[in-house]
Symmetry: C2
Subunit: 370 residues, 2 copies
Amino acid sequence: MNTNRAPLERFYSVIPAGGIGSRLWPLSRASAPKFLHDLTGSGQTLLQDTVDRLEPISGKNRILIVTGAAHKSAVQEQCPDLTSENLVLEPSPKDSTAAIALAAAILVRREPDVIIGSFAADHVIGSQEAFIKNVTEAVEVAATGKIVTIGIAPTEPSVGFGYIKTGEKIDGGSNAREVDKFVEKPSIERARKYVESGKYLWNAGMFIAPAKLLLEVLAKSEPALHEQVQKLADAWGTDAEQNIFDSIWPGLKKIAIDYSVAEPAAEQGLVAVVPAKFSWHDVGDFAAIAELQGGGQRNHLAVLGNVTVLSDKSNGILVSETGRLVALIGLEDVIVVDTPDALLVTTKEHAQRVKNLVDSLKSTGHSDVL
Amino acid sequence: MNTNRAPLERFYSVIPAGGIGSRLWPLSRASAPKFLHDLTGSGQTLLQDTVDRLEPISGKNRILIVTGAAHKSAVQEQCPDLTSENLVLEPSPKDSTAAIALAAAILVRREPDVIIGSFAADHVIGSQEAFIKNVTEAVEVAATGKIVTIGIAPTEPSVGFGYIKTGEKIDGGSNAREVDKFVEKPSIERARKYVESGKYLWNAGMFIAPAKLLLEVLAKSEPALHEQVQKLADAWGTDAEQNIFDSIWPGLKKIAIDYSVAEPAAEQGLVAVVPAKFSWHDVGDFAAIAELQGGGQRNHLAVLGNVTVLSDKSNGILVSETGRLVALIGLEDVIVVDTPDALLVTTKEHAQRVKNLVDSLKSTGHSDVL
């Protein structure tokens, strides 16, 4: 790729703001998904935190959010500096390949040498300083013609994440390593082996790559999808946009970027990984949020929301959106989520089962609260 | 006492509708105490159930409810047949002696030979047929010049109730026995001995007595209080009522009828007890309500209120006044009470601690939700 620009000057942040986060119902809803909430008590939503985290790297104007059309006004309200140039609206959710590849295709038309970094809108990251350092490193490696992911050192043998098998260190004094392969969510036995080996990192879905390279890989692995995405990008911002989106979007294949790009690229030796030096949480369920907030430790009840709580020998997490007084007595590892039209009570042990509950709400005709 | 009337013709039901029921917060409040709620799922409040239970015995017009002035409209709404002749309003709570003695003093002025039966407004009673039979029997014994209580055969060594030590059977073919003495809430060891002995019954606060006799006992044990009550009864329904109540009521001694009348009368050999043939619950806390509803058994969640519940492997009790959807996952013996301005979550094990919580709400300035 011919370019005179330094790697960081070519960098553009892409934030796919998609998944609803069913395991965070009733807080997270189709109408107000996870990324629109403050799940850390920071006073900002996860999306705002994500934008703030990327701004020092790519600059305020080089951030592209890809989100559902339904969330346009909420996103604009939370990120008032965004212009329509910085926002791609999806007519319906089509998984991460559509979102990221469309962003890549739109940006490569503006800047053929652009390097994009894609970061989920709903993760929580510890040290900002370490994050900037790792992303900068990843951008530099990406500029050598690689798709670079940032891998997280596992803190436990989680079966909820995919893993990255690391290979040799790459040349050039960086901490980056070759990626042998991506592996899907493992069994607990396999996860333990991965962690013990010291060779595996969690796949946190962070991908930094020249947009052109990413699209080339996609063109080989999913040619039809690639072609559709190119047509959408051609139409984006033109008078034809509405018509083209209406006709093409519903037929897009739903596929995660891990399968369409990361795995095929790894097979071709095109992927590198930078081991993260920052802490990372996907805050996938209320148990994760509770842990992040120290809920459950000793007698500590984590509280999100402006609420008066009387906690008598209780620990866990309380999330409140109603302002009602909440009294908890003698509850261990409890999860209470108090919203205007729905109340959830469970325990950290059962936090994952919230997803099943949402499924059963769907099937029993209670989609008004989803 | 000279009278030509048959005992049952002399009978008048008195319903002291007082106690707030702190252990049932946040359902039961100062503004909406326990007796104004449907705690059994019968479709009626405890007060309405109590009135319906007594009507076949005393007749619709021979029921006197003694309640707080603040509950006048709620009581009239729930019991639309009541006239002002059937309602005594207390300016402030002064415990059971003031309530029952004032009722006795008012009624004895209408009918010198009246036999009153006093029954709490917030208890739950099983067989109506057995209740009628037992009360009828108690009225007949009372007509012989006794203060008669109806005692409950203990189902467990409860430390939450006072006990009645029974003596010899009284003459006359009735099931009634002399009462040796009343004993206060015992230690668990003592409660076990009481239950094993077979001689003790629970004191459920039901007293059936000629009003004149009850007042005579009070005159000896608490002469000042007796005199004040007589003045209040003289003024009741007259132009002087307001003034007399204003001046006398605040100074009334707060004392339970058990101490002022039942115990002194027992010492004088004036008390008999009819062993109840009906089941009885004081529904003193949410654990008791849950048990009454079968909550906690197997996978059963008892539900009070018009609410959509999704219960996944949960048991206990849910009380809802908000109509919100409630989802409970993996909770054992849970108590969830969902009201418009306050939410309580605890377990049956800690049901009694709700009272402490109410105390701490008082002391921390949250009396708006009490």
